[in-house]
Symmetry: C2
Subunit: 149 residues, 2 copies
Amino acid sequence: MTALEPLDQAIVRELAGDGRCSFTDLAERVGLSVSAVHQRVRRLEQRGVIRGYTARLDTEAIGLPLTAFVSLTPIDPAAPDDYPQRLAHISSIESCYSVAGDESYILLVRVPSPAGLEELLRQVREAAKVSTRTTVVLSTPYEGRAPAL
Amino acid sequence: MTALEPLDQAIVRELAGDGRCSFTDLAERVGLSVSAVHQRVRRLEQRGVIRGYTARLDTEAIGLPLTAFVSLTPIDPAAPDDYPQRLAHISSIESCYSVAGDESYILLVRVPSPAGLEELLRQVREAAKVSTRTTVVLSTPYEGRAPAL
DNA sequence: GTTGAAACCATCTGAGC
DNA sequence: GCTCAGATGGTTTCAAC
């Protein structure tokens, strides 16, 4: 995987900071013509460097005030490792990481309440035969900051 | 915090899926006029329900192929709890969560290499007087999926 | 790979309901 | 709070370099 050119870096940095930034603004900020920027952004999208765009939401305002990390340990270590797939339909799971260490996976989940968390854990244990360890998030000083390029 | 109206829910769901969706498209998808959608989106932004927009990037393509969770435990339990602030300048830290459990904080970090991780841990220990426990991410089956509304 | 211009389309505002 | 319509300004394409 070849490293990103400085101009593409600049574009990507701007779009990480403001995903709805117009091409006109973008062009000014990176010092290129509008068409050139337009072409480069399209190319970055097609190459998969930019995987998409999303609105960053206030989890409380949308009714999911409880965030938690759920670590997964397979009950049967010999079972086929298709946990992510088995859990994909559970929409409270925002992210799924395969990790090195004591556990096999770490999930980031968002639920409306402690009752929602209980329900989620039930679903997870049912869908994948795993034991779970849950770490409740008390507050989020910051999240999803733009990467350093 | 009053719950989200169904129309606002629909708008927010669409923008979580495609943050660069035009107001024209958005209007069609939620069944409203363009101006009405426009007005509602602006209101959602001002109320802080929508906190911004970002490009979702391929971490490998931008030169940060190594992701890890770093758990923090204060060395002096009586020290003032200003860790997030003390760590905020470290740009490899994407997210910082205050958590219940054995540790006080969990950081999500992105670095170019194992050497970068080592350097990051040094920086973290220096900036905050904490001991760290690191869980390396091997792969990411999914991440940042749109929330269930 | 960049530019500039032209055609098209989206954004945004304000008046009216 | 929604709609319509008009003015502004952004997006997208294309020919040329």
